[in-house]
């Protein structure tokens, strides 16, 4: 692996599109998303398609450094989802439904982002039946403990 690539791989976890302020209802302008995923994980592709069908435009990037991307983005390890997206200056980790992302943009809280930990069955892009409500957590900027952002 070249040194250049090494440097690229370790510095790519910079939120994309930090100045964007997407709003609900402007369907003509798809909201850009950069989604980092494990190269072998297929359900993340399913989630990317789900976003593409709901007013977003997803740039899918495979990486073997997903844990680093997630860690550098500020997601606590025990709340990690299986992929990490950067949308409009926020981190959106895991299979978060679009209504929760819209709530994030509508309320514009001063947080790092939101996460749906793990890979709950029946969540967008995932196989299986939804058997329980999903709890999505807000990750603070100041290191205070995560709090519940949304339950859907």
């Amino acid at each position: 692996m070249t040194r250049r690539k090494f440097v690229m791989l370790t510095t790519m976890a910079v939120p994309a599109g930090g100045l964007l302020t997407p709003r609900r209802g402007r369907a003509a302008e798809p909201i850009p998303v950069t989604l980092y995923k494990n190269p072998s994980c297929t359900c993340c592709e399913g989630y990317a398609q789900y976003l593409d069908q709901n007013g977003f435009k997803v740039d899918v990037r495979s990486t073997n450094d997903l844990a680093e991307v997630s860690r550098n983005a500020g997601i606590p390890e025990d709340l990690e989802g299986c992929h990490t997206s950067f949308i409009g200056g926020y981190v959106v980790d895991g299979h978060v439904p679009v209504e929760t992302i819209r709530k994030l943009f509508d309320t514009k809280p001063a947080i790092v982002g939101i996460t749906l930990p793990g890979m709950p069955a029946g969540s967008p892009g995932m196989f299986g039946e939804k058997t329980d409500k999903f709890t999505i957590f807000a990750i603070s900027r100041d290191g205070t403990p995560p709090r519940v952002f949304d339950v859907v």
Partner: protein, 425 residues
């Protein structure tokens, strides 16, 4: 590690080098290794692929007591087989191997094949930060249930490789050792036709790999014969394209402008002399199903996230429904017991969405078939790479008494439950 202009990378090392010193000895000669533990935690050394007495196998709690900090353990055995083997820590293996504790063990044939050069590439994979130090975050829950801690920097013999200088016409025996903790490699030698002559140290019928791609899971070795038939003065790439779009150039081969060493490739035989292995009797063999379960998208436990969501033990993986985690425990019953001398078939059924290099200690096995299709070229090994959802059968003579580990060599899969033992009485 990554160049003279970068800071040194802090590692854990055998004899102050990464990889550890290359141990070379002639087939039939005894090996003695006095291991003194300078770490702040216990350790052991496993002699991977060597068919040795159980007490020398280096598995803490199973074949020996762990070597405490400041302690010493003397290993002594006589490798029966010639070939490319290796040694590594088997205690806190994810961290100890991940920080560098591995090295090659080369057993030379009494009558080695005729080559111009015998080269070894010990390939290691590191996850480095911008300051060239190892990234934290071993035992990441997500990675345990995916494909482990794959890094961002692959080294050859402990250095970020630059160029392999060759002379046109020469024949190189290249010993490839994947000593990474998680990275699977698929190596292509642009403009060349490598011929595989041994896998995991055991000779096979010389053959070119399918599509010219040498597939090596963690812990696997391949001895390849490379006839350097490129153009003098030209450069060629060695590419690893296992992860598709994440393919990269591992190293470049640079030809000396001098005219070829010889007009035609050597016509010396490529086939290596056989090792003293017993061939299993398939008709009378006992068959044991080994179902590999769990991981993300695997449906074990809840939520498609392996057993992570519900299992108190933290196991993400299982073999036939049982999870042996961490470094293993002597308390868990063996997967099966088999009488010494009996032929045995392991019928691996990968029920997961992930690749697993499955390693059996103390024996070498014949790889029989994949999804029912016979495996050609008389392929043997101690580690077999099982594809997602694939069924692979291997066979061996259980001729080495003792308790032997059988586990996935993606270190995070091993500590996450993809591990068991067999007992040969």
């Amino acid at each position: 590690m990554v160049g003279d202009d970068a800071p040194d990378t802090a590692v854990w090392a055998y004899n102050r080098t990464i990889p550890g010193p290359v141990l070379r000895l002639r087939q039939g000669m005894p090996l003695r290794a006095a291991v003194t533990n300078g770490l702040a935690e216990s350790t052991t050394v496993h002699w991977h692929g060597i068919r040795l007495p159980n007490a020398m196998d280096g598995v803490p709690g199973l074949t020996q007591l762990p070597i405490p900090p400041g302690g010493r353990f003397d290993y002594a055995f006589t490798p029966p087989d010639a070939g490319t083997f290796w040694y590594h820590s088997h205690d806190d293996s994810l961290v100890q191997m991940g920080r560098g504790l591995a090295g090659a063990l080369i057993v030379e044939e009494a009558d080695p094949p005729q080559v111009d050069r015998d080269l070894l590439w010990t390939l290691q994979d590191w996850r480095l930060e911008a300051d060239a130090q190892l990234a934290p975050g071993f035992f990441n829950r997500m990675e345990i249930a995916m494909d482990g801690r794959v890094g961002n920097t692959v080294t050859i013999n402990g250095r970020l490789p630059e160029t392999l200088h060759v002379r046109a016409g020469e024949r190189i025996r290249l010993r490839l050792l994947n000593a990474a903790i998680a990275r699977i490699m698929a190596l292509r030698f642009e403009g060349h036709r490598p011929v595989i002559v041994a896998l995991d140290g055991q000779p096979c019928a010389p053959h070119e790999p399918p599509d010219g791609r040498i597939l090596l899971g963690p812990a696997m070795r391949a001895d390849v014969m490379l006839d350097m038939q490129g153009e003098p003065g030209r450069r060629y790439r060695v590419v690893d394209d296992f992860y598709g779009r994440l393919s990269y150039t591992l190293v470049r081969i640079a030809y000396d402008p001098a005219p070829p060493l010889r007009a035609h490739p050597l016509d010396a035989l490529l086939r290596l002399p056989a090792n003293p292995l017993s061939r299993p009797d398939l008709a009378s063999a006992v068959v044991h199903e080994v179902r590999l379960q769990g991981g993300m998208m695997g449906g074990m436990g809840g939520g498609g996230m392996g057993g992570m969501m519900g299992m108190a033990s933290g196991a993400a993986w299982a073999i036939n429904g049982m999870s042996m985690t961490g470094d293993g425990s002597a308390g868990m019953p063996p997967l099966f017991r088999v009488d010494r001398g009996r032929s045995c078939i392991l019928d691996f059924r990968n029920e997961t969405a992930w690749w697993h290099p499955m390693h059996l200690h103390g024996h070498s096995f014949s790889v029989l078939d994949r999804d029912g299709a016979a495996v050609p070229h008389d392929e043997w090994g101690d580690t077999v790479l099982v594809r997602p959802r694939e069924r692979v059968r291997v066979a061996f003579v259980a001729d080495n008494p003792g308790d032997w580990m059988l586990h996935c060599h993606v270190m995070e899969h091993q500590v996450g439950g993809l591990m068991t033992t067999i007992h040969v009485s």
